[in-house]
């Protein structure tokens, strides 16, 4: 009897065990394809890269930490480390701040949905397309790049002085060039007498402003006592027939030039030429010796905009493009957190007379802190991997100045450098930098499970 029940029990346990084994096999069959791919193409490469990073370029000689030392010695990789630091500090901070401000403001308008849609749209666009978009916007020629067109427009709004970059005086005339690019009268002049003609050449007719009028009338004007008059004109008669050094009937004045009356090396009076090129100084000392000067800025090249993609500004410029892509993301995520805030706390504060800034500073931001942290950490992880945008926007010669870890890893391993040891070390560094985020994710996950 006992043996029978024993056998039966053992049999039941057997079936159960067999069923359990079967269940486990089925479960593994479900998970296996994914696990195999992850193992072969993610886990194994991580281990391989770590190992490879201890070998030299050819992969035959063990160099220990040599590649990691080299990373901070080689100027190119060192620049990549520095630029990456700038990216990681600046971009997430700006994005979180911008996202927060916009999320708070957008709640007050009726077209919030449309605004959010518009700002989120760049998230759907590839870095390549965004790169081309901004390469176009950052074009240095203000006739092509929209940003410089705007910058030059604003600049000219505030600095409306005309400029004649090619203008110069005739050799051996009454006016000579000084060391700093200005022009001044060779002989001393005194108030009274006749009007002083200052002839310039080298201005193409197209460069003369359309409002310019003939200078002859002004050149014939008589100065009063204590007054110094003169005219700056283009000493060139279109079609020929003019006399050098004299104001002929067809010759036009040059408007918008700054003129200074200088005494003992100091500018005592300033004036701007009118449409006929005339200028006058009042209240000068009768009989005093003055020099009339045309300062160098009259002849400066016109402002041509900012060199956005030059070595100095290329990183900030690319960060700008990155902001364009990610601000919508930060705004929407923070906005979601915002709408989950307890409305009564905000309302109570408002009823108690707190102004909007106080509500924002003392209630909204502290309550949003967890969301802001998540946004910031997410952005740090993503900023670390930025590659395409730099690869596309930075023009060839400036690529070295814009390089970050991800692009440098590419250049060193595949882009001509062909040092896979150093390349592996750079990729391992990238991995090490995201380890805190890894720990953050794992911790957050375990907390959500318990």
């Amino acid at each position: 009897m006992t043996t029978v029940t024993e056998t039966a029990r053992r049999g039941a346990a057997d079936t159960r065990r067999r069923a359990g084994r079967r269940r486990r096999a089925v479960a593994l069959a479900f998970a296996l394809p994914a696990l195999l791919l992850l193992g072969a193409l993610v886990v194994y490469p991580v281990l391989f890269s770590v190992g490879r990073s201890f070998f030299d370029a050819s992969g035959t000689r063990f160099v220990g930490g040599g590649n990691y030392v080299e990373m901070f010695r080689d100027p190119a990789t060192l620049r990549a480390v520095r630029n990456s630091t700038v990216w990681v500090v600046v971009a997430p901070t700006l994005l979180t701040a911008l996202g927060l401000i916009l999320a708070v403001l957008v709640e007050r308008i009726r077209w919030a949905a449309a605004f959010k849609l518009l700002l989120f749209l760049p998230m759907a666009v590839s870095f390549l397309a965004a790169g081309i978009i901004f390469r176009l916007a950052y074009e240095e020629d203000p006739d092509k790049g929209v940003l410089n067109a705007a910058v030059v427009g604003v600049h000219d709004l505030f600095e409306d002085g005309a400029s004649y970059p090619g203008a110069r005086a005739r050799e051996g005339g009454d006016v000579r060039r000084t060391g700093d690019g200005a022009y001044e009268t060779t002989a001393a002049v005194s108030p009274g007498g006749t009007a002083l003609p200052l002839g310039l050449v080298g201005v193409r007719p197209a460069e003369v402003p359309p409002e310019a009028r003939p200078a002859a009338a002004a050149a014939a004007g008589k100065p009063g006592p204590g007054e110094l008059r003169g005219v700056v004109y283009l000493d060139f008669t279109p079609g020929g027939g003019g006399r050098p050094g004299a104001v002929d009937a067809a010759e036009r004045g040059l408007p918008g030039l700054a003129v200074e009356a200088v005494r003992d090396g100091r500018a005592v009076a300033t004036a701007t030429t009118g449409a006929d090129g005339a200028f006058r100084f009042d209240g000068l000392e009768e009989g005093g010796a003055y020099t009339v000067r045309l300062p160098a800025e009259n002849f400066a090249e016109p402002f041509g905009g900012v060199s956005w993609l030059g070595p100095a500004l290329v990183t900030p410029a690319i960060i700008g493009a990155y902001l364009w892509i990610w601000t919508g993301f930060a705004m929407v995520l923070i906005g979601a957190g915002l709408s989950a805030l307890p409305r009564d706390a905000l309302e109570a504060a408002r009823i108690d007379g707190a102004n909007e800034w106080q509500v924002f500073r003392r209630i909204t931001v502290p309550l949003l802190a967890p969301v802001l942290t998540v946004v910031f950490v997410t952005l740090v992880i993503n900023v670390m991997k930025v590659f395409d945008l730099i690869y596309i926007i930075a023009p060839g010669p400036v690529q070295q100045d814009a390089t970050v870890l991800a692009t440098q890893m590419w250049l060193v391993s595949f882009g001509g450098g062909n040092d896979q040891g150093l390349g592996s070390a750079l990729s391992v560094l990238l991995l090490l930098l995201v380890v805190p985020a890894m720990v953050f994710n794992v911790r957050r996950f375990r907390r959500s499970q318990s």
């Binding site: 490469p45 007050r108 759907a124």
Partner: protein, 304 residues
């Protein structure tokens, strides 16, 4: 009244000299004025956001000569500059059209594979028992943030040995592997929310795990699967880095084809601008069509 306001007051100041609350009318006026400022500010921000894309669109419709001599904004005053000639030329360009189809041939299979494999694994991690399950899932969570760069070199070597280097299947496999951690993570968490009784009932009705998976888990998981599919599709459609390494000239997608033309930037805006616009039109249409899913997908996927 002051009793309920301690949050606003610096703890250090014992007797806050709160200004008297403004009269309701003045307050309303100020709010109205403030609101006007907010609207104006956001309008400017919106304009700043839309200008670069408008620039690309208008540039793509202008001739090379126009682009070389003046800015795209001159077309606003002179719409006669605009024509579809560049797009017509693009469609006649064999390299571009092949690159476009390569992009499709890479993105669609990747999306299908990632969603299928991740759904299977996600279900296993959520509801099936196997040795090392919890430990393996923590590994998946850890792999979420592994940068693609770490995989480039070793996988290139591996694919070289397997004959996958420079082929579309190679590009697809790499994308699938690096898409899986997030996909498994997302779906496992979604499936784990399903009520246990529902699953037990389905198992009682007979039919193995496969039946339960196909007839219950997949239909219930539809929203998460859709978000994942859209996110994954856009991710791969927009990729340049992976294809730059793993694809050759016959298998390269649109992004890589365009990238190779960026070197002559300035002289070829009539090719680059319409090409870039073509490459962004598909994601934008997908985005507008599946807005809700897309935003959810990106939000969830941002941990990558």
């Amino acid at each position: 009244m002051t009793a309920t306001a301690p949050v606003l007051v610096e703890p250090a100041s014992p007797a806050p000299l709160a200004p008297p609350p403004p009269r309701p009318r003045r307050r309303r006026l100020r709010r109205l004025l403030g609101n006007g400022l907010v609207q104006a500010f956001l309008l400017v921000v919106g304009l700043v956001w839309i200008t670069p894309v408008a620039g690309l669109l208008l540039s793509s419709l202008r001739s090379a000569q126009d682009s070389a001599s003046s800015g795209w904004w001159t077309a606003l005053a002179d719409p006669g500059q605009l024509s579809f000639a560049n797009y017509a030329a693009l469609l006649d360009d064999a390299g571009m059209t092949r690159a476009f189809w390569n992009t499709v041939l890479i993105s669609v299979p990747t999306t299908v594979l990632v969603v299928a494999l991740a759904a299977l694994a996600g279900y296993a991690f959520a509801w099936l028992e196997f040795p090392g399950r919890d430990w393996l899932f923590l590994l998946v969570v850890a792999l979420l943030v592994v940068p693609v760069q770490v995989g480039l070199l070793p996988v290139a070597k591996l694919f070289g040995q397997l004959g996958l280097f420079g082929t579309i299947p190679g590009v697809v496999l790499f994308h699938v592997a690096y898409g899986l951690p997030f996909a498994v993570f997302l779906l496992r968490n979604y499936f784990a929310e399903m009520p246990r009784e529902m699953l037990e009932a389905a198992r009682m009705d007979g039919g193995g795990e496969w039946r339960v998976f196909v007839h219950l888990v997949i239909p219930v998981g539809r929203p998460a699967l859709a978000s994942l599919a859209i996110f994954q599709f856009l991710w791969v459609w927009n990729d340049m880095l992976v294809a730059l390494l793993f694809a050759d000239s016959s298998s390269q997608p649109l992004t890589v084809e365009l990238q190779s033309q960026v070197r002559q930037f300035g002289s070829n805006i009539d090719v680059l601008a319409p090409g870039a616009f073509l490459s962004l039109v598909v994601p934008v249409v997908v985005f507008l069509a599946f807005q809700r899913h897309f935003v959810q997908g990106v939000m969830a996927g941002s941990v990558k």
